[in-house]
């Protein structure tokens, strides 16, 4: 017997990712859908639909005005393929939000069951929210957690509840509508999302999770997440997102505003797996008071184009931030991601640690912006980014920006761009692994420090995604 392998067959062949587990879609049959485009009429309809308080209606109209004035950013990936005239900004199923899983309509329930959402809740979460297109369809928080005063609900309900004034004070305060064009868009048409309030001293020891599913074709999702973690409190919040693939552009322009109180800690984890027709133009920002800490964990796998740079404002003395991120761009993906941090308080520290993988002509760009204000005495900041390119068609760029106005700041920056070494592949293959498995193992290893930061289910999901992305023909 002779073992032979054709030379071509021996090469790792790369096919498009099998997204069947995310790609199922439901018909829009009984959905209420506003016409495509963005006009004052549409904005007012959304406002009416949601029964907005007057200040919110004004915020929407003001935002629309700004949207029409502000130019599309002239840096970053081209957004030519995105035409707001062909995006439906509001789509909802004819259903009300439920706090009992059994009351969620069958079809939607099916969707989330397939994505493992209620299963995860039963196992390891303190509360779950599930958004389907423009509206939350399910929200529930464990009774013992609720009893300690933790609020976890949709923004719309919160606007009419106990914390209405607080929301008025904080809503689009960190990310004002004039911040950039898509913040303005968000302000005009936002819908859904979560409000979380953790009272002083309350430590929620298991995570809360929101899952965002955009099912409708040619639609936008504009959920707003507002989290307030009071003094000495502690929270881990997880968001996941996915969508089936369509041949027209979909848009996600969500907004996340995080308020971290004195000596409080908030960990915000995201696994984003939008389909590859998605423009993911999301804004996230956190402000941290004295001794507080924000931890971002961010995995970006999906979307056609992503622009995502979570920002941390280290306002209080001794406040800290850590950002751990990974992006994986395959064919027809341009993932422009990174992080921003502003040091204002004394003795503040920040650590940005990112990895990117590009393959099959995918483009990964890492942008970081670090500013240290004059007031931020003895601040420490470190930025580290590593990129792995799996073939010569792919691209990886690093664009760091630093503005240091404090003489005694301690700043470090490290960037590495590399490829998988042939020697490493040979070494693993010499122990019996196929070339494809060897490469997949090296890539998962590369991503390991990020998956370690994720809750187990998400770490498994991330590893599956890497495996899917690395999948080729197995002979």
């Amino acid at each position: 017997m002779t073992i032979m392998k054709d030379k071509n067959e021996n090469k790792t062949y790369v096919e498009d990712i099998d997204r069947s587990m995310y790609d199922f879609r439901n018909e829009d049959a009984d959905a209420f859908r506003l016409e495509d485009g963005l006009t004052e009429e549409i904005v007012l309809k959304i406002s009416e639909e949601k029964n907005d308080p007057e200040w919110m209606r004004q915020l929407r109209l003001k935002s629309l005005e700004l949207y029409n004035k502000i130019e599309v950013p002239d840096w970053g990936p081209a957004l030519d393929g995105l035409d707001i005239d062909h995006i439906a900004t509001y789509v909802r199923k004819n259903t009300k939000m439920a706090d009992n899983w059994d009351e969620v309509p069958e079809e939607i329930k099916d969707t989330f069951e397939k994505l493992g959402i209620p299963q995860a809740e039963r196992k390891s979460l303190a509360g779950v929210g599930a958004q389907y297109d423009s509206e939350l369809v399910y929200h529930n928080v464990r009774e013992d957690v609720a009893k300690r005063g933790v609020v976890y609900t949709d923004i719309e309900s919160a606007l009419r509840g106990e914390y209405a004034d607080l929301i008025k004070e904080k809503f689009m305060h960190l990310i004002p509508p004039n911040d950039h064009k898509f913040a303005a868009l968000h302000g005009a048409v936002w819908s859904g999302g979560s409000f979380v309030y953790v009272p002083k001293g309350v430590k929620v020891d298991i995570p809360l999770q929101s899952y965002f599913r955009l099912n409708a074709k040619g639609a936008g999702q504009f959920e707003h997440t507002l989290i307030i973690v009071e003094e000495d409190a502690d929270l881990h919040f997880i968001e996941g997102c996915s969508a089936p693939k369509y041949n027209v552009a979909n848009l996600h322009a969500g907004c996340v505003e995080l308020y971290v109180g004195r000596n409080a800690r908030l960990r915000y984890s995201t696994i984003e797996n939008w389909s590859k027709n998605m423009y993911n133009l999301n804004s996230k920002r956190a402000i941290i008071e004295e001794g507080g800490r924000i931890e971002w964990v961010s995995g970006s796998f999906g979307s056609h184009i992503s622009c995502l740079y979570p920002m941390s404002i280290l306002k209080g003395d001794r406040s800290t931030m850590e950002f751990t991120g990974i992006s994986f761009a395959n064919d027809d993906q341009n993932l422009d991601t990174g992080a921003k941090v502003v040091h204002i308080g004394e003795d503040t520290s920040s650590y940005i640690n990112t990895k990117s993988i590009s393959k099959g002509g995918g483009v990964c760009t890492f942008r970081s912006s670090l500013s240290i204000e004059k007031s931020a005495k003895r601040s420490k900041a470190a930025v580290s980014c590593e990129s792995l390119m799996l073939d010569s068609e792919s691209r990886s760029d690093t664009i760091p920006a630093m503005d240091i106005r404090c003489a005694d700041a301690d700043v470090g920056h490290e960037a590495q761009i590399g490829r998988i070494s042939d020697d490493a592949v040979l070494y693993l293959m010499s122990r019996g692994m196929s070339e494809e498995d060897a490469r997949a193992l090296i890539v998962s290893g590369f991503a390991d420090n990020v998956s370690k930061e994720l809750p187990l289910e998400y770490a498994i999901e991330m590893n599956n995604l890497i495996r899917l992305e690395m999948k080729g023909s197995i002979g």
């Binding site: 002779t2 040979l426 070494y427 010499s430 122990r431 019996g432 070339e435 290893g445 390991d448």
Partner: protein, 249 residues
Amino acid sequence: MNGDKIVEIKDLHVSVEDKEILDGVNFEMHRGEIHVLMGPNGTGKSTLGNALIGNPRFKVDSGSIKLKGEDITDAPVNERAKLGMFLSFQNPIEVPGVTLSAFIRTALEAKTGERIKLWDFKKKLKACMEILQMDESYADRDLNVGFSGGEKKKSEILQLLMLEPDFAILDETDSGLDVDAVHTVSEGIREYQKRCGGALLIITHSTKILESLKVDKTHVMVEGRIVRTGDASLVDEINEKGFDDYHEG
């Protein structure tokens, strides 16, 4: 000892970047045998190891390699490994994010095509690490990352013990090790021999690693060819006289 024929190499010519390194190498090995390959620097010893494992940078121009009767001259690296070949690398590669233990388990699963029972695996791994006097914590460390030279070599021998190949090539496993480490590694090799009775080809400059092993044959390689083959006593002879007698011209 004359068991089954494990390796048969016939008239092997190998080049690297169009430069011929091996110029017609012949030898065979049987189950349970230990052969030593000696020779001056740059003579093609490591090339032989690389060509046997199938490193694509080493091109076989002519000749054949058979493992357990199967012609593997053109087989990919992983097929050779699955059929029972093992190379202990001179410079083991560091793989961040993959623990030594997970790596060995993945390799075992690739080799057997079966899921390995975690409990049995852990027990065996622990026992093998004890033989090699490796601290247990190494199992959970990233493969070779930050390992000292000695630890990297021990990690190779640990893989040898765990994967139990039929034919193992040890490429200068003893180089750069202190006396104690060489002794430990040598113990590991002996244990492998005792347990699996595979064929061992030991490429070495020194003889310390051979002290506790019973060598069946010694080959001397000079300028890409095996110029002399003898028994264990040839090792001592070379130790005394060096390779001067073998140089051509």
